[in-house]
């Protein structure tokens, strides 16, 4: 089976810090993968490289066989890699529905029209579909800045979904949430993944969540791939137990 997203020998340095050190990873189409690793392991940097926010110092990033490293953010977005951010990145003064409609319009390249009125009906109905998918219909008319923290993260994901991505990267979707909210969130993400059938990669610090829902787990440490495998394989991996689980005790719950 060919990989949807194939990373080979990816490198990124920040001065003396090697944030991404010769990372080689494959992501199969339709897979659900968790990326874990202690703070500063280079997880966010890895996403930044894939999405073109940072330029890699070396290596290849292939999406369906095409090398996309070095392309601009918007080119990469258009090729089908969507992303939600560690800190929710939303449009504070848009209502949820308007934000999603605008995102859909952007994706369909229909934002250049000055003669028609926002929202165009079919974009709005697509926006409502997405809202239903992630469970944001409750707050459709609420300006994004008044949303709860969890809903803002959801909206961020929903914005990425508006692009109908083949690959969706979620950077700590549950960051800053209470235990209950976390589970709600991750169940939504999982449902989303099974319903939409895209390749989903998420960064997560909560080990209970990771081991429960991920098909495969990739462990990063000091920018390197420390281990990869199914949850069971990772659980019994000596290197991970030694290197990672030790530090995970320091993680906040």
């Amino acid at each position: 089976m060919t990989a949807r997203l194939a990373i080979t020998g990816l490198m990124k340095r920040f001065g003396g810090v090697v944030a991404t050190d010769n990372v080689t990873l494959d992501f199969a189409p339709g897979s659900l993968t968790a990326i874990i690793g202690p703070n500063g392991a280079g997880k966010t940097t890895f996403f930044n490289l894939i999405t073109g926010k940072l330029k890699p110092d070396g290596g290849e990033i292939r999406l369906d066989g095409v090398d996309i490293s070095g392309q601009t953010q918007s080119e990469i977005v258009r090729r089908g890699i969507g992303r939600a951010f560690q800190v929710a990145s939303i449009f504070p003064r848009f209502t949820v529905e308007d934000a999603l409609t605008a995102a859909v319009l952007t994706h369909r390249q229909q934002t250049s029209s000055m003669l028609r009125r926002f929202p165009l009906p079919d974009a709005a109905s697509r926006a409502r579909e997405i809202m239903a998918l992630v469970g944001l219909e409750r707050v459709g008319k609420t300006p994004s800045r008044y949303l709860s923290h969890g809903d803002q993260k959801l909206l961020d994901i929903a914005l990425a979904l508006a692009l109908e991505p083949k690959v969706l990267l979620l950077d700590e979707p549950t960051a800053g949430m209470g235990p209950e909210e976390r589970w709600q969130m991750i169940e939504r993400v999982q449902r989303l993944w099974s319903e939409v059938g895209m390749t989903l990669v998420f960064i997560e610090h909560d080990m209970d969540i990771v081991f429960k829902i991920a098909q495969t787990i990739r462990v990063l440490r000091y920018g390197k791939v420390l281990a990869e495998g199914t949850p069971d394989e990772i659980r019994s991996n000596e290197a991970v137990i030694e290197a990672y689980l030790g530090t995970s005790l320091e993680e906040p719950a």
Binding site: T106, H107, T111, M114, R117, F118, V139
Partner: protein, 325 residues
């Protein structure tokens, strides 16, 4: 409100104002309304950038001055009619906006503000320096000829008044259409979070440039109207304080409500005229008023209302959503 209703409302209101003024108003009222239309359009056009795109231009008066001078000079040349002079002027303004905008949008935030200001001062210094063409600090002297066209005689104050109101209404409706279009919402995305917009695949720079040119286009329309109204053009049209006043108007009225800048222009003119009448310390009074608004409310009058309304609505939704769960 749908586009059609808005057009209807605009036309009816405009016609009403024209009819009532012509029937009952005196020369003073005509003057007040014409100035309001001109400065209201200036503030509304600037708000395309400030309120909708989040780009705080401090050089908007360059379009006001450019419109007035270009139109005035063309008319004084005697070679063209009023409509063609206006058309040529608008083309010139768009080219200027395109060139200057290309530079300005390369920088963000406060540097954008400064660059626009700097280019405006370039225009200003050209106006002051090129005495043989522009009359320097004396302005375009000798009046601007207003030959009749299509049976319209703008030398006649009432006809001028009607024209200014008509152009104003058309421009306001056009701006309204732009900011309510998909393009207008793309601008709002840039205002709210340009980085995220880029990540959704929006060509942010190109849109900023288009917004800049559009804003300049309507700004120079108000400049043309101004030169028709005063039958001249003066360097202070392109001076930084004119840009400052335009921003002042926006913040007075509010930048999140479409007609906020127009309301602001009305309040500003009211303040301005009365302060000039009552005291010599015009700058001090205006400055203190501005400080009070900025530090006291942190937004315009209509913004406060709008925010209150939105907060109320979303509380209501939260309550309804809570019931359903």
């Amino acid at each position: 409100m749908t586009a059609r209703l808005e057009v209807l409302a605009g036309v009816v209101l405009g016609a009403l104002v024209v009819a009532l003024t012509l029937a009952f108003g005196d020369k003073a009222l005509l003057d007040v309304l014409m100035r309001l239309a001109i400065f209201g359009l200036l503030a509304l056009s600037l708000n395309i950038l400030v309120g909708y795109t989040g780009l705080v231009s401090f050089g908007h008066a360059m379009f006001f001055g450019l419109g007035a001078y270009s139109f005035g000079l063309l008319m004084q040349s005697g070679a063209v009619s009023i409509p063609s002079a206006a058309l040529i002027t608008l083309v010139v303004a768009c080219i200027w906006g395109g060139v200057v905008g290309t530079f300005c949008i390369r920088l963000d935030d406060i540097y954008f503000s400064f660059l626009t200001l700097a280019f405006q001062m370039l225009l200003y210094s050209i106006i002051i320096g090129w005495v043989s063409l522009t009359g320097g600090d004396q302005g375009l002297m000798g009046g601007i000829p207003r030959p009749p066209f299509l049976g319209i005689n703008l030398a006649e104050p009432r006809q001028l008044f009607v024209l200014i109101v008509v152009v104003f209404v058309v421009c306001v409706l056009a701006i309204r259409q732009i900011v309510q279009s998909p393009f207008g919402f793309a601008l709002r995305m840039i205002r709210d979070n340009a980085e995220r917009a880029r990540f959704l695949g929006l060509p942010v720079q190109r849109y900023k440039l288009i917004a800049f040119v559009l804003s300049g286009f309507f700004g120079s329309v108000s400049g043309i109207l101004m030169s028709l109204y005063v039958s001249g053009a003066y360097p202070n049209f392109a001076f930084w304080s004119m840009s400052g006043d335009a921003i002042f108007m926006i913040i007075l009225g509010g930048l999140t409500v479409f007609l906020g800048p127009l309301v602001g222009a009305a309040v500003f003119l009211l303040l301005n005229d009365n302060i000039t009448r009552l005291t010599e310390h015009h700058g001090i009074v205006m400055g203190v008023v501005l400080l009070a608004i900025v530090l006291g409310m942190r937004k315009g009058f209509l913004d406060v209302l709008d925010e209150w309304w939105q907060a109320r609505a979303s509380r209501a939704e939260a309550r309804a959503g809570g019931d359903r769960q």
